[in-house]
């Protein structure tokens, strides 16, 4: 009966809302989180920020150093992402349903991807710090590990979306496995893969700043240093230029995306 379906839809909606409300209220009560206070403190934070957290003339003297560190961080993120993408590409070829060599590789690759992805980036940095101490290399490797997991997964999905049809057609002409990859799979999947790569670069620049706190390198470390020495003016300058850098990179990658996805 059709009427029942509408009633069922409405009931499903109500049940869903009830569950969300229950989870929210439950979590707030268990953690004794003060909702009211959290909103009033936003105002206090803003007041403090406008009083202290702004760049002044003195902090401007640090600008060349900040820009240099920022540049270094952006380049490192790009390098880490592209290297990760190369390996992710190879893994994705082995892991995709469409063109995998065999199902055992596929399962192994998906396992590797899932492991790298689900291990938090900060945890990667901590673990790698044991081996490489506080250095550029640690941050670089941590970013590679995080990106590798995510990109492998994204590339597998992209390649599987290409589907079996062109692959089948090329195999039927007598094309070899490598030919099929370069002539059918990559031409179809490349735009989407590059799009994922650009997204990953955006994300990694943000994450690199965070990782820098831990590894004592790059722009993240500069922020940490100024902030902890109560030099809020310079710290705010770092934040502002960090945000500008991310916006610039995002704008560039969006325009690249528009061109290649056409």
């Amino acid at each position: 009966m059709p009427a029942d379906i509408f009633a069922k839809r409405r009931n499903d909606g109500l049940i869903f809302l009830a569950v969300v409300a229950f989870l929210t209220v439950g979590s707030v009560m268990i953690t004794q989180y003060d909702v009211l206070k959290s909103f009033t403190s936003i105002y206090r934070a803003l007041a403090w920020g406008s009083a202290n957290f702004y760049p002044n003339a003195v902090s401007m003297k640090q600008l060349p150093d900040i820009l240099y560190k920022l540049w270094e961080t952006v380049l490192m993120s790009i390098a880490a992402t592209t290297i990760a993408a190369v390996f992710a590409g190879l893994l994705a070829l082995l892991g995709s349903r469409t063109i995998r060599v065999n199902s055992i590789f596929s399962v192994i690759v998906r396992g590797i991807a899932s492991f790298f992805r689900n291990f938090p980036l900060v945890a990667w940095a901590m673990v790698l710090m044991l081996a490489f101490s506080q250095s550029q290399l640690t941050g670089y490797l941590a970013l590679i590990c995080g990106s590798l997991g995510f990109l492998t997964r994204a590339f597998i999905e992209t390649i599987d979306e290409v589907g079996n049809n062109p692959v089948e057609a090329l195999q039927a002409t007598g094309a070899s496995y490598i030919h099929v990859i370069f002539q059918a799979v990559l031409p179809s999947a490349m735009p989407m893969m590059i799009s994922w790569l650009l997204f990953m670069i955006d994300t990694n620049i943000r994450d690199a700043i965070l990782i820098g706190f831990l590894t004592g390198t790059g722009i993240g470390f500069s922020f940490d240093l100024y902030y902890k020495s109560f030099d809020y003016h310079t710290a705010s300058l770092v934040t502002i230029f960090g945000a500008i850098a991310v916006i610039i990179v995002e704008t560039i990658s969006n325009s690249i995306r528009r061109v290649i996805m056409g």
């Binding site: 057609a169 039927a172 002409t173 007598g174 094309a175 030919h179 002539q183």
Partner: protein, 292 residues
């Protein structure tokens, strides 16, 4: 340059003006089978075979239609021929070679001699028409040349000739996702032709096309068969189309051949054998109306 010379292509005669090969016609067809299937079986699950004990042979230049209900095993049958699907048992000989014995390299060589076109065209949509057509040469390429997509001057000329033959001149540099269904299928045919195949397998080539485009495609296939002497094995859903175009019809039901003969031998009773009796009246009606 010299590296690619071994990939030279024999020019294909152009349909309208091209003379028939060596007085080739249907009545005096050579009796040497180009393709011979002996007791082919295919099991996907152990329960029921997709193909059971299928045997037939196809002479050079024949236009053979395979008809049967959905799920009868038509696609499986076609794909066993170029070993896109490995048969469970039986033997296939093509052009004097037992296909099941072929290893990687020789299997590629076998496939270059067998073109294939598909219901969903199976083109690389983001590439242009000419690039898709040239994919038909990949079977002849070394790894590096194929990866880089380096085709000889002769191959490109040949591609343009075939594209012209199929009336796609204006679309040469268009991306395939811009084409209509009929145009895409013609690109599919061009990709098969540039292989210089002896046999073209067609898996429901007109099932996704409107009647007009379907007729154009079938006419091209008929021309390819009669004027280039290329053997065609085609899976069809439409009995009337099979009756109109094929030299010979093979009826498949539940993985078995239940009819194998000339179109005029395909009576209402036989159609009922292939499709089940409910279908008989409808198909007879269509058959009478369109078979002329």
């Amino acid at each position: 340059m010299s590296v690619y010379c071994k990939d030279m292509v024999v020019p294909v005669p152009i349909f309208p003006s091209g003379q028939k090969k060596g007085g080739f016609n249907l009545k005096q067809k050579s009796k040497i089978p180009l393709l011979e299937l002996t007791n082919i079986t295919k099991y996907y699950h152990s329960a029921a075979p997709a193909l059971a004990d299928v045997s037939f042979s196809v002479a050079e230049g024949e236009f053979v239609a395979v008809i049967g209900p959905s799920g009868a095993g038509k696609s499986t049958l076609l794909r066993c021929i170029n070993r896109m699907i490995e048969p469970t048992g039986g033997a296939i000989s093509f052009d004097g070679v037992i296909t099941s014995l072929l290893r990687k390299r020789d299997l590629r060589k076998l496939r270059t001699k067998i073109g294939m076109i598909f219901q969903h065209y199976n083109l690389v949509d983001r590439l242009t028409v000419i690039e898709n057509v040239l994919h038909g040469r990949l079977g002849y390429k070394s790894t590096l040349a194929g990866v880089l997509g380096r085709y000889s001057r002769e191959e490109k000329k040949q591609a343009f000739r075939i594209i012209n033959l199929l009336g796609l001149d204006e679309q040469v540099y268009e991306r395939c996702d811009q084409l209509s269904g009929g145009q895409k299928q013609r690109v599919g045919i061009a990709r098969a032709l540039i292989q210089n195949p002896k046999l073209i397998l067609c898996d429901e080539p007109i099932a996704s096309l409107d009647p007009n485009a379907a007729k154009i495609i079938m006419d091209y296939l008929k021309n390819i068969s009669s004027q280039m002497g290329i053997t065609i094995v085609i899976n069809l859903h439409q009995v009337n189309v099979a009756l109109k175009y094929a030299d010979r019809i093979i009826g498949v039901n539940k993985g078995r051949i239940v009819f194998d003969g000339q179109p005029d031998e395909l009576t209402g009773e036989k159609i009922a054998d292939i499709y089940g009796s409910e279908f008989k009246d409808l198909m007879m009606d269509l058959g009478e109306r369109y078979a002329s």
